[in-house]
């Protein structure tokens, strides 16, 4: 999926046609407290349907993406001219006011032909205003010409053929503003999740050629204070067999669970903390008893039973689609088979 994304973005970020009059990104719309009704009002794309970004809007990718019902995601970052983010070692970079983080969710009709017949579902904007970050979701219209603001969220039928040729259908849930906060919270603040050094520290196929993203951000004056990328933290991709099983499993939980499951996150009350750097093994689930799991316990005693994935609450909840049981609570309606496979093997190997 990573490769597919890169290919698309390369196509998408080709230079602007010389004959078209290009309007810059609309900083006023970005800073306006009321969201625009149409996505096009922000001027983030030259061609929304093709996800061709405007000048100053840079594509990026994450080493381990959050699982969202197998949707493909196109990510972009925009910062106002002359501003840049400040590097942070473990947390999200400090982005300047006026930053927009853009994420478009899309499905190809057939995952075996990933570059054809792509349906854009929604584009989410995380906007950094003077009062803090705010989030809005725009749902793409039928002819894919523009996307419309949906404050209260929306349910949409989506189907595709998966990489094994099987037909899949789901009710895709566009989140409402509060549900965005359900994950994007750090203490009292609304915050981005993905753009951390460890998630960006790998090579991305830019239109001008492949480059490490941290290096690119520094060179393009998007980021200050970053060390050479060799000295920055990184996480392995889920399917990177050159990395240790433990690192891959912890990296998977870092991006899929730890935005809530950390001391400062929405799931702080559980005492289950799954950040990549968590060293207290009870905190990351090792023989940890649940607190308020209810039916989510599945009748099991510990979040992780070393050597026994089938009796580990963590996997039981990942395997369920029942809203009273499932984890994550939001963002998926079907299970992540590959994620479950990874964590099963990992738990089986724990002593």
């Amino acid at each position: 999926m990573q490769t597919l994304l890169s290919v698309l973005v390369v196509v998408a970020s080709l230079a602007t046609p010389a004959f078209a009059e290009v309007l810059p990104v609309n900083d006023d719309a970005i800073l306006e407290p009321r969201p625009a009704r149409l996505l096009s009002a922000y001027g983030l794309f030259l061609d929304g349907r093709a996800q061709t970004p405007n000048e100053g809007v840079h594509p990026f990718s994450l080493q381990q993406p959050l699982f969202t019902d197998y949707a493909n995601k196109y990510r972009f970052v925009y910062m106002p001219k002359g501003t840049k983010a400040t590097y942070q070692e473990t947390e999200v970079f400090d982005f300047p006011v006026g930053t927009v983080l853009v994420k478009t969710f899309a499905y190809p009709a057939d995952f075996r032909k990933p570059a054809e017949d792509i349906r854009l579902i929604e584009t989410r904007l995380l906007i950094h205003q003077a009062t803090g970050w705010t989030a809005w979701a725009y749902v793409w219209n039928q002819d894919q010409s523009d996307a419309v603001l949906k404050v209260a969220g929306k349910s949409l039928p989506v189907s595709w053929i998966d990489s094994t040729g099987q037909e899949r259908s789901i009710t895709y849930a566009v989140p409402n503003k509060n549900q965005c906060k359900g994950c994007h919270s750090l203490g009292k603040d609304f915050t981005p999740i993905g753009p951390k050094a460890r998630n960006l520290n790998f090579e991305f196929a830019y239109s001008a050629g492949a480059r490490n993203q941290l290096q690119y951000w520094s060179e393009a004056a998007l980021l200050s204070g970053a060390p050479p990328h060799e000295a920055a933290p990184s996480v392995p991709a889920m399917d990177d067999m050159s990395a240790s099983l433990n690192d891959r499993a912890r990296a998977y939980m870092d991006i899929n669970c730890a935005h809530c499951h950390r001391l400062e996150g929405p799931a702080s009350t559980s005492g289950l903390f799954l950040t990549y750097g968590e060293t207290n093994r009870t905190a990351w689930g090792y023989k940890k008893r649940p607190v308020a799991a209810g039916r989510g316990s599945g009748g099991f005693i510990y979040d992780i039973v070393p050597g026994d994935p089938d009796r580990s609450i963590l996997l039981f909840r990942m395997t369920s689609n029942d809203p009273g049981i499932m984890m994550p609570e939001l963002g998926r309606s079907i299970v992540d088979d590959e994620g479950i496979a990874l964590l099963s093997v990992w738990i089986k190997g724990l002593k």
């Binding site: 308020a292 989510g296 599945g298 009748g299 309606s333």
Partner: protein, 417 residues
């Protein structure tokens, strides 16, 4: 096509009294709106701070969770048996209604049949849940959601006049919170009726807890951001006839509560239990115990400390014990179990022989004839040849200094109305 804008009727209320912020409004949800999921959620998102959202009489069906993140919002129905929010068909969201903003007030409505928790309130300063019913209408069932009314990691919590029925964990549960009042409420047919867990400064009074597995539980658990629960007063409650078999999914701490427990204090310090009516509880009327499981947490004290039990009235109890009451207590005490049972777990050899220091002790001041047993679990491990129990209730006479009643800021302003 006027529908789209007719979803909300906005009424300006500029003439209302001063404390309401200038943009506050009264928003009445149109009960005929077919997409009430969207219109109510939109109101909850777009309301200005200080606003009131009125939900008229009716039964409304939801497929996803509702959530509130705007400060100082009141959500008001027409009565807990008139405005019913049903989540029977819910397919997403792990609770019915999630509140993450300060100063909310929810009143006069019911939440029914959520697959997960009923009302969850997380990380707020100020929450009032008044005359609200949360119920699983099929009665006790392992498939019911865990918590009915569920404020957690919050400050200044008021639960007043609530009814909670059928929760597979606790009907009314306040966890990791501070400055709490739970009063005038009814909890029945839950595993735990009312549970205060890992919390500081709570007053639980004038409640009725009946037909649960356990009536009122004061618990403290390890490995949580807030632990060391303390300063809890439980008084003027009725915890009677709690006789529903435990239907909590195993793995949860309440799954270990014996069917028929009146009031149970586990770990915690500075707990005062008084003027309650406790009776017809088949396992035990009053149980004081240490946290029973192994754990890995240096900062956790598993013992109940400085507990003061006085002036309660005890009806029948302990004639048909269940679970640990049957397996661990009854063999030592015989039947019926005494009115008050303390496991006698103490910290170290000195305490095992001479009792804990006064500030850690269990103090009991009950009417003559109240039965008691200290099971001496630790002493018996050290001195097995002298194993036995201590039934001398008079030896535990004592008290802890009284604490002032909890006063909540939201009640101070309410008095002005």
């Amino acid at each position: 096509m006027a529908k789209r804008y007719g979803a909300l009727w906005l009424v300006a209320v500029a003439f209302l009294s001063a404390p309401i912020p200038s943009n506050a409004e009264i928003i009445t949800i149109d009960p005929s709106d077919e997409s009430i999921q969207e219109s109510l959620q939109e109101a909850l998102i777009l309301a200005e701070p200080g606003s009131t959202i009125l939900i008229p009489e009716g039964v409304f069906h939801f497929t996803g969770a509702l959530s509130l993140d705007v400060a100082d919002i009141t959500v008001r129905g027409a009565g807990m048996d008139k405005t019913i929010l049903s989540f029977k068909g819910q397919t997403s969201g792990s609770e019915g209604f999630l509140i993450t903003s300060d100063g909310a007030r929810v009143e006069n409505l019911a939440i029914e049949d959520t697959p997960g928790d009923g009302i969850k309130v997380k990380g707020v300063d100020g929450i009032s849940i008044v005359n609200v019913r949360v119920e699983w209408t099929r009665g006790p069932d392992v498939g019911n959601g865990a918590y009915g009314i569920y404020p957690v990691e919050s400050k200044h919590v008021l639960i007043d006049g609530a009814i909670a029925r059928g929760a597979s964990d606790a009907g009314i549960y306040v966890g990791q919170s501070q400055q709490i009042i739970v009063r005038n409420s009814l909890a029945e047919y839950n595993v735990a009726g009312i549970e205060i867990e890992n919390s500081f400064f709570a007053d639980v009074y004038n409640n009725v807890s009946t037909r649960n597995t356990g009536g009122i539980l004061i618990f403290d658990l390890p490995n949580l951001p807030q632990k060391g629960g303390h300063s809890i007063r439980v008084y003027n409650n009725k915890s009677v006839a709690n006789d529903t078999p435990n239907f909590a999914p195993p793995g949860n701490i309440v799954a270990t509560v014996p069917r028929g427990t009146g009031i149970m204090v586990m770990a915690n310090r500075d707990v005062e239990v008084f003027n309650n009516e406790i009776g017809e509880n088949p396992s035990v009327n009053m149980l004081i115990v240490a946290y029973p499981s192994e754990y890995d947490d240096d900062g956790f004290n598993p013992l109940p400390q400085n507990i003061y039990v006085h002036n309660n009235t005890y009806g029948r109890g302990g004639w048909d014990p269940d679970a640990a009451a049957k397996d661990m207590v009854a063999p030592k005490t015989g039947l019926p179990l005494p009115d008050i049972v303390w496991d006698g777990a103490v910290d170290g050899i000195w305490s095992a022989f001479f009792g804990p220091d006064s500030e850690d002790a269990i103090h009991i001041n009950e009417k003559d004839g109240t039965s008691f047993a200290n099971l001496d679990f630790v002493y018996d491990m050290i001195v097995p040849w002298d194993a036995g129990i201590d039934r001398d209730i008079k030896a535990y006479k004592g008290s802890i200094p009284p604490r002032e009643a909890i006063v909540l800021p939201q009640e101070k302003t309410e008095n002005g109305h």
